[in-house]
Amino acid sequence: MVTLGDYLLVSGILFSIGFAGVMLRRNLIIILMSLELMLNAANLSLVAFSRFRVDSSGLPNYNAQVFVFFIITVAAAEVAVGLAILVALYRVRQTTDVKDIRQLRF
């Protein structure tokens, strides 16, 4: 029997992997992928919480599931703009490595 705790554990692991990816990886495309992973970890938690929180009428609390659709939509918009910025960056600098993007320093 899969319990709520199992889903939350997987979600927590996904979130940690995503966070580690953002912090440790140097390639901007992989960083964007890691960010998507973090958002999907939140989606998984939301759906799990929704599915396991059954109210008196026997139905799950659908608020969270609707929220997940909003998150998916917004994440798509975010990636669209993000990739456009990356393409512009690549055209100017010929790199997507964060090591090479450090002109702004004091």
Partner: protein, 476 residues
């Protein structure tokens, strides 16, 4: 008389944005700066209309649309705040147009300008929704509307590698904060089964809920909001992005984005005040922000970067107000912050096009343009908190609230850091009035900017002497 309701204001702004975007697409012959003036006129009409909206009392048990949208006094006040900010930013953008043009070499002479002048309208729409949001789903969606349009604006002059670097940093760190926000909301939902802030208050008052999980969720949400308001330790993006972004966008980020962030912070923290750890956490963040922002500003030589650290420092003072939960003090401080920050940026944009953004580029400005130097002087002394300016009264109300609540540590650190602030703000004044320069060419200021700067100077002094209109707007 026709009644105007609050959602109609946002619809009007949305329609305005779309119309201007269409005009921009099909009218290829016109001077694109006309679009900015049309947008300013349109937003001014909406601003005027917003004074006729009757604020509704906060609904506790509202359903449907009104369960995630509120039109209370605070939200109407900050809708007007967002509109005023956007109008001033558009005036600055019209001034900044030559710089945007230069960054699109080879393309048609006006390419890119239309979008640059239209996007702030949609950002304004997002800000207006954000200050009305009382449901986490709505907070998330309107926050993203603001953030995604800022992604584009920050990296707009995309041939400039510095701007692009700022845009990339903003993109990655902002998306990271979004992920934290969503994960935090997921946990709060998991504990309470609610996304509406009012029902959340009831759910959290129930002692049977898991407090640690609720705190975890709140912590994650606080990370995301701390990012928006530039609180330490989530401020790492601020100096780089502020320095690299086109200057009007920097002004917009530091005023619009931050003010909306504080409104959301006030709304989101309210249900969690029943947990004793919440206040301690915010006190800690406020102390760190005050100390870091003021100390790091000391050695700065670039004015944009200096204003970035100053923006962090001001977030610290505002957080003192949040700790005391004095909504009026925070709102007044934000108004003062709007006036003095926009004033400094308006002068910076004009001067930077002639010389540069370093403080040394302001040497002898008093000789070259007494008007701009005086405007910058008022901006700087107000930011520092000299009496008879709005900045002083803002700090006064904040510290007064803190003294009443016996937050000794916050008051002591706050007052010490104000002294620290005097040093770096007056450094700019010293450059303008006491340093000499070989370059004595006059700096031209166009009519609209002169009007906007004069209005900002006047309001900064006026609200520093007579703050009653602002305080009444929130109390009535």
């Amino acid at each position: 008389m026709m009644r105007i309701t609050a959602p109609e204001l946002e619809i009007a702004v949305l329609v305005l944005g779309m119309v201007i975007l269409l005009v921009e697409t099909f009218a290829t012959k016109i001077d694109k700066r006309i679009l900015a003036f049309a947008a300013i006129a349109g937003l001014a009409i909406v601003l005027l209309a917003s004074f006729f909206v009757a604020p509704s009392p906060s609904p506790d048990q509202a359903t449907g649309f009104w369960s995630f949208y509120t039109a209370d006094r605070l939200s109407i006040f900050f809708k007007q705040f967002a509109l005023v900010t956007t109008i001033f930013v558009l005036i600055m953008m019209a001034d900044y147009a030559p710089v945007v043009r230069r960054s699109f070499p080879g393309a048609a002479p006006q390419s890119g300008l239309g979008e640059f002048l239209t996007l702030p309208i949609f950002t304004c729409l997002g800000l207006m929704y954000l200050v009305s949001a009382i449901d986490f789903v709505f907070i998330f969606v309107s926050l993203e509307l603001v953030t995604i349009s800022f992604y584009v604006l920050v990296s707009f002059t995309r041939r400039n590698p510095i701007t692009l670097e700022a845009g990339t940093k903003y993109l990655v760190l902002s998306a990271l904060s979004t992920a934290f926000l969503v994960y935090g909301i997921a946990w709060i939902f998991g504990v309470t089964g609610q996304t509406n802030l009012y029902r959340l208050t009831e759910a959290l008052a129930n002692p049977a809920i898991n407090h640690n999980a609720a705190l975890l969720g709140m912590g994650f949400v606080l990370v995301a909001l701390g990012f928006k308001i530039a609180a330490v330790p989530f401020q790492i993006w601020v100096p780089d992005v502020y320095q690299g972004a086109p200057t009007p966008v920097t002004a917009y980020l530091s005023v619009g984005s931050k003010a909306a962030g504080f409104v959301v912070l006030l709304r989101v923290l309210q249900p969690f005040l029943v947990l004793p750890e919440t206040q301690r956490l915010v006190v800690l963040i406020a102390l760190l922000t005050l100390i870091y922002g003021n100390l790091a500003a000391l050695p700065q030589a670039n004015l944009k970067r200096l204003l970035a650290y100053s923006s962090i420092a001001h977030a610290g003072y505002l957080l003192i107000g949040v700790v005391c939960f004095d909504v009026r003090a925070v709102s007044f401080y934000l108004v003062a912050y709007l006036l003095m920050t926009l004033l400094s940026f308006a002068v910076l944009i004009i001067v930077a096009q002639q010389t540069g953004e370093e403080i040394s580029d302001f040497d002898g400005l008093a000789r070259r343009s007494p008007f701009l130097a005086f405007a910058m002087l008022i901006g700087m002394v107000s930011l520092a908190g000299v009496p008879f300016t709005a900045g002083f009264l803002g700090k006064f109300y904040i510290f007064y609230a803190a003294v009443l609540q016996r937050q000794v540590a916050l008051v002591v650190v706050g007052v010490l850091t104000v002294g620290c602030g005097f040093y770096y703000y007056l450094k700019v004044v010293r450059a303008m009035y006491w340093q000499s320069t070989t370059n004595i060419a006059k700096i031209p200021v166009n009519g609209l900017s002169r009007l906007a700067i004069s209005a900002l100077i006047l309001c900064t002094i006026w609200f520093g002497i007579y703050p009653q209109p602002i305080l009444d707007a929130l109390k009535r």
